[in-house]
């Protein structure tokens, strides 16, 4: 920036030559490298951003990920099909049930038993999945709000998440990493008082979400940092493969649950909220509305929930009851084969996709006919969503980075796998 005319300008400053004074935007400045992360308070998830800033303005950015690469694929290639569920829990660890369901569906398609899954199990999968979606968005909004210094909102939303987690804990035994879904159904039926509890919790969640809504949506500071910041167009969404709330905020009304209904989603009446501008506020608003829609689905699902078994009746997929295992050689053998050799999945390839917390969660699985996958690839939605930051951030202010990143909702476990 040693353009003589510029230096000349700087000289005349203060001599009343107001007309030629530079605008605030094109003040001549030295560009400076600035490193954010991988451990930064305003970054939930470990990501490193090497920024080149001009004053407060970001000129270019290099987003570096991989700090949480836990080799999901390598671990999966060395585990049986059932052993992979715990790993899927830890992909998008904010909505584990959705990953469980997505993975189970993929394997079931390979096994050609996806039509034979008991209906009750499918409903339960929808229910736990939608609960997970709510906790996902709650966490996203809570964290972002906290990063924008709205700590009270954080408390409100965390409280709501806590209720939901306690419910899932009663169901699966774990607060966060449930491993509740199985190939062929779910591991256990709902607890007796699950539905009444859930209804009560939803009522309370509505209240605290409404509070958060009031505190944020009409909050001047919040709006200033969200409105019109980080605008993504529909074409960007297509080119960068943006799905989920990020994609929908651009007006791209793509929701797997609507466009390619899986499980029993075609039986529920719910709307897919889309944004108009594709800025941070739209992403926030879409998430807020999606939680309400999920609650609608949950209420309908509880209405329609049929009775019946929750695990497929197929000795080559489902474990026999423990009493049989301990007392008869037949079931003992079946149990043994299923645990030690694993479920034998016929050779083939499948790309199965569901609507995860962050968008299209795809599983591309290659089986060579043994008890473990040859390849188990996850199509991580927020990997694609995060990539767009490289295009988004330049020409924003450093302060805009925080809400923009927060609304992308990068989840390390899913992005780096």
């Amino acid at each position: 920036m040693d353009d003589p005319s510029q230096t000349a300008r700087r000289v005349v400053i203060g001599f009343g030559d107001a007309a030629n004074l530079p605008e605030a935007d094109d003040l001549p400045t030295e560009s400076m490298p600035l490193n954010m992360g991988p451990s930064h308070p305003a970054m939930h998830g470990t990501v490193r951003m090497v920024l080149e800033v001009e004053g407060e303005k970001i000129r270019s950015v290099d987003v570096q990920i991989g700090y949480l690469h836990r080799c999901f694929e390598k671990e999966a290639e060395n585990a049986t099909w059932t052993q992979i569920f715990p790993y899927t829990d830890r992909l998008n660890y904010v909505s584990p049930m959705l990953n469980n369901v997505g993975y189970a569906l993929a394997v079931e398609k390979l096994l050609d038993i996806d039509k034979k899954i008991p209906e009750r199990a499918q409903f339960i999968r929808v229910i736990v999945g939608e609960i997970s979606r709510i906790t996902d968005h709650l966490t996203c909004l809570a964290a972002s709000a906290m990063e924008l210094a709205a700590f009270t909102v954080f408390f409100y939303l965390m409280k709501a998440r806590e209720w939901l987690w306690e419910l899932l804990e009663e169901l699966s035994g774990a607060r966060l990493t449930h491993s509740y879904v199985r190939i062929g159904g779910v591991v256990a039926d709902l607890t007796d008082d699950f539905c009444p509890k859930l209804r009560d919790i939803l009522r309370r969640c509505r209240a605290s979400i409404a509070d958060a809504d009031k505190m944020l949506t009409s909050n001047r500071i919040f709006r200033d940092r969200m409105d019109g910041i980080g605008i993504i167009t529909r074409d960007d969404a297509l080119g960068w493969g943006l799905t989920g709330p990020v994609g929908r905020s651009t007006g791209l009304a793509y929701d797997v649950r609507k466009d390619h209904p899986y499980l029993v989603y075609d039986r529920f009446d719910f709307d897919v909220p889309v944004g108009s501008k594709g800025d941070n506020f739209d992403r926030y608003a879409v998430r807020l509305e999606e939680m309400r829609q999920s609650m609608r689905i949950l209420e309908q699902a509880m209405e329609l929930l049929p009775a019946g078994p929750v695990l497929i009746d197929d000795a080559r997929v489902a474990l026999p009851p423990k009493r049989e295992v301990y007392n008869t050689i037949e079931s003992m053998i079946a149990h043994f084969k299923l645990i030690m050799d694993g479920i034998v999945v016929p050779p083939g390839e499948i790309y199965s996709f569901t609507e995860g917390g962050n968008g299209e969660l795809g599983f591309y699985i290659v089986s060579n006919g043994t008890g473990q996958p040859w390849k188990c690839r996850v199509r991580p939605p927020c990997f694609a969503n995060l990539a767009v930051l490289n295009k988004l951030l330049p020409r924003l202010f450093i302060a805009d980075l925080v809400p923009t990143f927060g609304m992308i909702n990068m989840i390390g476990g899913e992005c780096d796998r």
């Binding site: 836990r70 390598k74 806590e162 476990g413």
Partner: protein, 180 residues
């Protein structure tokens, strides 16, 4: 001798002060962070134990809580941040990944944060329940009161970190170095 008695009492007083004013640096990487959020949230209020203020600058913190999986790539970052903390400092490994690597035993996940920094208290669980963190905090406070500092001992023993002396190919094309 009165002198020694006096100093020991002072040490006790200092330790008492330290244990109730822990400024934590949460080194949050992964799933456990979700439970860690819950720790600050209303139900399990960590503020009750005088450790509620997260200091995101290591220079102001004396308790580092390693939350989540540490990968080989993360290692140097963790170590640098730890080195930036002022003594006396303590470390809590939150969850099995931070303690042993958990069920991530592979080319990228480090088998426990204690590979590169000394750890005082390990918390099992994947992820641990918030109560466990509170329990660990109390454990650490007892240690501080007693004046035991495992990490300080290790600190004296180790050499600090160096860059790997293995020759590195920029194109990353060869399989050398990836020993079975």
């Amino acid at each position: 001798m009165p002198f020694s008695v006096y100093t020991s009492k002072l040490a006790q007083a200092v330790n008492w002060a330290r244990k109730f004013s822990l400024f934590e640096y949460p080194f949050v990487t992964a799933c456990c962070g979700m439970e860690f959020m819950a720790l600050w949230a209303p139900k399990y209020d960590i503020a009750r134990f005088g450790a509620e203020i997260p200091r995101f600058s290591p220079r102001q913190a004396d308790l580092m809580i390693v939350v989540g999986t540490i990968t080989e790539r993360q290692g140097p970052v963790l170590r640098r941040i730890y080195d930036q903390m002022c003594e006396p400092k303590w470390v809590i490994a939150f969850g099995v990944c931070a303690s042993t690597g958990g069920f991530y035993q592979n080319y990228s996940a480090m088998p426990g944060a204690d590979q590169v920094i000394p750890v005082d208290v390990y918390i099992p669980g994947c992820p641990p329940r918030p109560e466990q963190m509170l329990d660990a905090l109390v454990l650490l406070q007892e240690r501080i009161q007693k004046g035991e500092g495992h990490s300080q001992v290790v600190l004296r023993a180790e050499r600090g970190y160096v860059a790997p002396d293995a020759a590195i190919r920029p194109d990353g094309e060869t399989k050398e170095g990836a020993g079975r």
